[in-house]
Symmetry: C2
Subunit: 350 residues, 2 copies
């Protein structure tokens, strides 16, 4: 019987890859280091997702349930891969729980790590309790408790969302754009305005990157229907006057310094390469690209390929990625792994 | 025997879907209205593609050859679908060539139509021969003839690329962003600078949307290595002084009117919904979203679904899309069609 395909990581890409393989009748072993599946949207408690508008716990939670109830998928939580040896069609993975898995191919869906805002200290995170991250605001919304200032629990009257925190910033070694923060922030601003209609929300930006159909459904809608204000600015620092937070910077459209008080400042944090990527690179013998993401093939005919034959990659493991593209890429990598797996079988039979 | 899956459209998404289905052992009928496969990259003669850097004729041409040599894929060129009836597992498509195809499911990969710049007359296309489109510049590069002014064949010393022509423009009914023009234009600017090192290239933009890893590999690289200049501007009109083209507008960063002469002006044209979408909507009984793209399901568990069970969609048919995402989506839709097809078979057997 054909060996299973090893899928590493149970976020949107991994769930999608595992499900697609099982749909094609292929056995899967899905390994996740966490104690539950779902990846960032579940573990970080995201609220309503872009672009479906579904709650993360329903949308991604549904994918988790589908995978966990599939008899062809063997889920191993709290486990990592320690060694990975062999060749296409005949790999062997030693897991951290002492077990060994035989696999015909592997799909790495190991995702990203949220940027840690303490690495951008001049913008106040870690110093002022009312400077929070988009992830924290997602949690406030998904928990049902609503958006409140952490310092004293009050309803904020003025909220600033700062884009590109940990993105497009050579000073701190993050040259990439995190792709989806603009749209997520527009969405979050609308959710704040919807739940707190008296709260004014400002978004500080360099460029607004609500690409494709997100342009009018998020960017324009947030301005026209939800009265979210956008300020093109270079931010110098976030301080406090003892009562409110003060965002200082330069409005790059009017070329004037601006200093505006806010009750809450939200860092739209970027997507870093997964902190485990150096280890994953060593264990699976796959190359990383210059920023530390898992390098994928640059040819259209085999887009999920890594530098290691038989090992494929999908989703944010390869760079900042949206959830829907991660899901599509998971299915795409599943097809590639299936083909490789069948090809190896065929060769072995000949 | 299982009925084939009908794939409509042989561009990147359709080629990818057909190949994925065949890889899974599923027969496919691939219908394309053109006399050859490849979609926009081949029919419009694109040059080097983003992000792989491969020539379109190699990368997409390779996908075409793989599909055309696959015995499980029955390619019908110069054909359209006139009627489509039946139910999942048991569809019947009447083609324009008089033939009938039985199908278990359908995947629409019908792509987009390039924006026609004559709909933006104040920007000079159709009036001045040296106002061209990104597609025309791609053709100049891919033909090997190089970038030359159409009026007299001279090598341009100064080229302006105007972004968002037919995108983000409510005046002409195009509210969407075309997603990839920013990155394609950065890439094109570098190709012009590479082939004509003495030619200065300026890019006029609203926002630069080189998302994800395109930020430093295209936007920064084009500025730092290739000295491409970026001007944030609102463009009023493109005229001529009888010798050169004159781009008039307002530099929105310095709030000053700017009037700059160029030898060639390039419209970075957007992606319109396919002009056939009204017909496709009627034939396949699928809903369109408000801009006229084929509406796809908004749930993560079934992203390729249309409003018609058993009919799936992938790529730029659903909105502006990149080639690599179109390819991943083609595979994703293939998985969905395969599942639907197998499910219908199973039901029929019960």
């Amino acid at each position: 019987m054909n060996r299973p395909v090893l899928v590493v990581g149970g976020g949107p890409a991994g769930l999608s890859a595992a499900n697609a393989l099982a749909m094609a009748g292929q056995r899967v072993v899905l390994v996740d280091k966490a104690d539950r599946l779902g990846g960032a949207p579940i573990l970080s408690g995201y609220a309503k997702l872009v672009p479906s508008g579904e709650w993360a716990k329903d949308a991604i939670g549904g994918m988790v349930r589908r995978v966990e109830s599939n008899k062809l998928i063997d889920v191993r939580k709290n486990a990592t891969v320690k060694t990975f040896t062999g060749s296409p069609g005949d790999f062997r993975a030693a897991l951290s729980d002492g077990k060994t898995v035989e696999a015909s191919a592997a799909v790495l869906c190991t995702g990203f790590t949220h940027f840690d805002s303490v690495n951008k200290p001049e913008w106040g995170f870690g110093t002022y309790p009312d400077v929070v991250t988009t992830t924290q605001v997602e949690q406030m919304l998904s928990s049902g408790k609503g958006v409140r200032c952490p310092s004293d629990g009050r309803v904020p009257e003025r909220v600033a969302i700062l884009l590109c925190v940990g993105s497009r910033d050579r000073q701190i070694g993050r040259e990439w754009c995190s792709k989806i923060c603009c749209t997520v922030s527009s969405n979050l601003a609308m959710e704040i305005r919807e739940t707190l209609p008296k709260c004014n929300v400002y978004i500080y930006y360099m460029d607004i990157r609500t690409f494709g159909l997100y342009e009018d459904t998020y960017y324009w809608k947030s301005q026209e229907e939800f009265k979210v204000k956008y300020i093109k600015a270079r931010i110098a620092e976030v301080t406090s006057d003892g009562k409110r937070l003060i965002v200082k910077g330069e409005d790059t459209l009017v070329k004037r310094p601006i200093t505006i008080p806010f009750d809450m400042v939200v860092h739209a944090i970027g997507m870093d390469p997964n902190v485990d990527n150096m280890t994953l690179s060593a264990v699976f013998d796959v190359k990383l690209e210059k920023h530390g993401h898992i390098a994928k093939a640059s040819t259209y005919s085999n887009m999920s390929a890594t530098s290691h034959p038989g090992v494929f990659v999908a989703g944010a493991a390869t760079g900042p990625e949206t959830i829907d593209d991660s899901i599509a890429q998971g299915q795409s990598a599943a097809m590639a792994a299936l083909t490789a797996s069948q090809g190896a079988m065929k060769e072995a039979a000949e």
